[in-house]
């Protein structure tokens, strides 16, 4: 866990720190955040940067309380958070629903992989937002084009991960199960699926992060609610405190989402790394 302390003094320091229980990292981290906030407040109060451009933490907190109580331009904060997270989860959910079975099918059957693999491989490196223009042309400015965009963002990632996961199952295991008399259905449900789920989950967490990035971009372009919209709208009125509130909330939601998936991961594929 810790790197090789070079000198004995450093070794003693590391030992002392580890004695302060496994939580020392959290304390140092919290201290660093507090220090940064204090420095930020200090720099602005001292007048080194205009508070108009860089609102101090106290102003940001004030704006947060204000939005929490009165909402932002006819939308409550809960509505905006709900809109952003809801869109991201809708696109991610659809991509998972269709992408995992499709990817697994591609992994099991080489012919399917050869027929459709090139489409997925072409779509995967394409920046999702470049589709948005086409999707708006096809589906209009409403919710449909955004959900479709997010589905397209996550789908190739989910498909490739699922395909690679199934492909990575050791052939020996399948042969062993088959020689012990397992039917193809049993081989799939007892060997292939459990062995590939950890990697499928890794793909899902990457897909969720990409979806969350894209939803904000889409809301900056075409939306009437959501945190991305709130940030853009605030920038038009030079409400930098509101922008900061939006950015911090988005960062925290992103952290919560990735932690949540990590938690699910440890619950669902608890056998990860122990196969």
């Amino acid at each position: 866990m810790q790197a090789w302390p070079a000198r004995s003094a450093e070794r003693m320091r590391v030992a002392a720190i580890s004695i302060l229980s496994g939580y020392w990292r959290t304390w140092v981290g919290a201290g660093a955040v507090l220090l940064a906030l204090a420095a930020w407040q200090g720099v602005v109060v001292a007048g080194l940067v205009p508070s108009m451009l860089v609102p101090p933490p106290t102003d940001v907190w004030g704006a947060f309380i204000d939005i929490l109580r009165h909402g932002y331009r006819d939308t409550t904060l809960a509505e905006d958070i709900g809109a952003t997270v809801g869109r991201a989860l809708a696109g991610f959910g659809l991509a998972t629903l269709f992408g995992v079975p499709f990817g697994v099918w591609m992994g099991v059957d080489q012919r399917v992989a050869s027929s459709f693999g090139w489409i997925v491989q072409f779509m995967r490196p394409l920046p999702p937002l470049s589709f948005l223009v086409l999707l708006i042309l096809w589906l209009g400015l409403g919710e449909a084009s955004k959900i479709a965009l997010l589905t397209i963002t996550a789908f190739p990632i989910v498909v490739s991960a699922s395909q690679a996961a199934v492909r990575g199952v050791p052939a020996l295991w399948i042969a062993a199960a088959r020689s012990l008399g397992a039917s193809p259905g049993q081989v799939f449900s007892r060997v292939v699926l459990p062995a590939s789920l950890p990697m499928i989950f890794t793909g899902l967490s990457i897909a969720l992060a990409a979806t969350f990035s894209t939803v904000v971009a889409a809301e900056l372009l075409a939306a009437n609610d959501g945190l991305g919209w709130m940030v853009l709208s605030a920038s038009k009125f030079l409400r930098n405190d509101v922008i900061m509130v939006g950015i911090i909330l988005l960062g925290l939601i992103g952290m919560v989402l990735s932690r949540l998936l990590l938690f699910l991961d440890s619950r669902v594929v608890h056998w990860r790394g122990r196969t």
Binding site: A3, S115, P125, P127, S130, V133, A209, L232, G246, M255
Partner: protein, 255 residues
């Protein structure tokens, strides 16, 4: 024999899609506004190459975008790698910096673009800073994990042979971490590229992402299609270039 048969599946699938696309657009079953046919795309591509788009030639649009990627990715990866190496070697520094890196990494990049535009204006600076901030946490985490995964025996062996901490770093830790740093760099360049296209769409006046968006506003869907195809090819090119570089520099990876 078997691989040739699989190759045929790909060919059939590509051919099938091309035929359907050509047929559907040729008989006018769909409005060319929504789906331009292959012929229209080809002529639009020639048109774009010859006449450019709104004041810039096509290579200029592509060049502007690539230059932004190179600047933002280069600076962000360099600084991020240095920070990450430090984090990997000094646990205290890691604990100190980790909250910021972990906050920045899942944060949607476009969210802070708005703030950067307010601070730096709508020109180049805000875009380069955006890409810098995009690449930085990805590179930092890759470098940190690279240092952490250096086998302890290697470090101990070097020290037992009398290497100074600096020598250990230069000859043992850094080369061992380099493959992982490169994996991080490839990940970062993909994210930086996607972010740039988004940034050009939201707040650009040139570049290939802006071209697609602007063409969409004027309902030139043929240009949109050509642009999207070019964006895909450019992304593929960037990734290939970086992986060729990776094979040259860390030729020992995986061995």
């Amino acid at each position: 024999m078997k691989s040739r048969r699989l190759w045929l599946f790909t060919l059939t699938s590509v051919a099938f899609l091309l035929v359907v696309w050509t047929a559907v657009t040729a008989i006018g079953a769909v409005n060319p506004l929504f789906l331009p046919g292959p012929g229209l795309l080809a002529s639009s591509f020639v048109d774009l190459t010859l006449h450019g788009y709104k004041g810039y030639s096509l290579p200029e649009h592509i060049g502007i975008s690539l230059m932004r990627v190179a600047l933002g990715f280069g600076t962000g990866t360099a600084v991020g790698t240095i920070i990450g190496l430090g984090m990997g070697m000094v646990p205290l520094l890691d604990a100190f910096v980790a909250p910021f890196v972990e906050f920045l990494r899942p944060l949607p990049q476009l969210a802070y673009l708005v703030l950067l535009i307010v601070w730096f204006g709508i020109g180049e600076t805000s875009k380069i800073v955006l890409l810098f901030l995009t690449a930085l946490p990805v590179a930092a985490i890759a470098a940190r994990d690279g240092v952490r995964s250096v086998p302890r025996e290697r470090v101990l062996a070097a020290r037992a042979l009398g290497a100074t901490p600096m020598q250990i770093f230069i000859h043992v830790v850094f080369p061992s971490a380099l493959p992982e740093i490169f994996i991080g760099a490839r990940l970062a360049v993909g994210i930086v590229y996607a972010t740039l296209i988004a940034a050009e769409i939201i707040a650009g006046s040139d570049g290939i992402g802006w071209l697609v968006f602007d063409a969409g506003r004027f309902l030139r869907s043929d240009y949109v299609f050509v642009g999207v195809l070019l964006i895909g090819l450019m992304g593929l090119g960037i990734d290939r270039a970086l992986s060729a570089l990776e094979r040259r520099i860390v030729h020992w990876a995986g061995r």
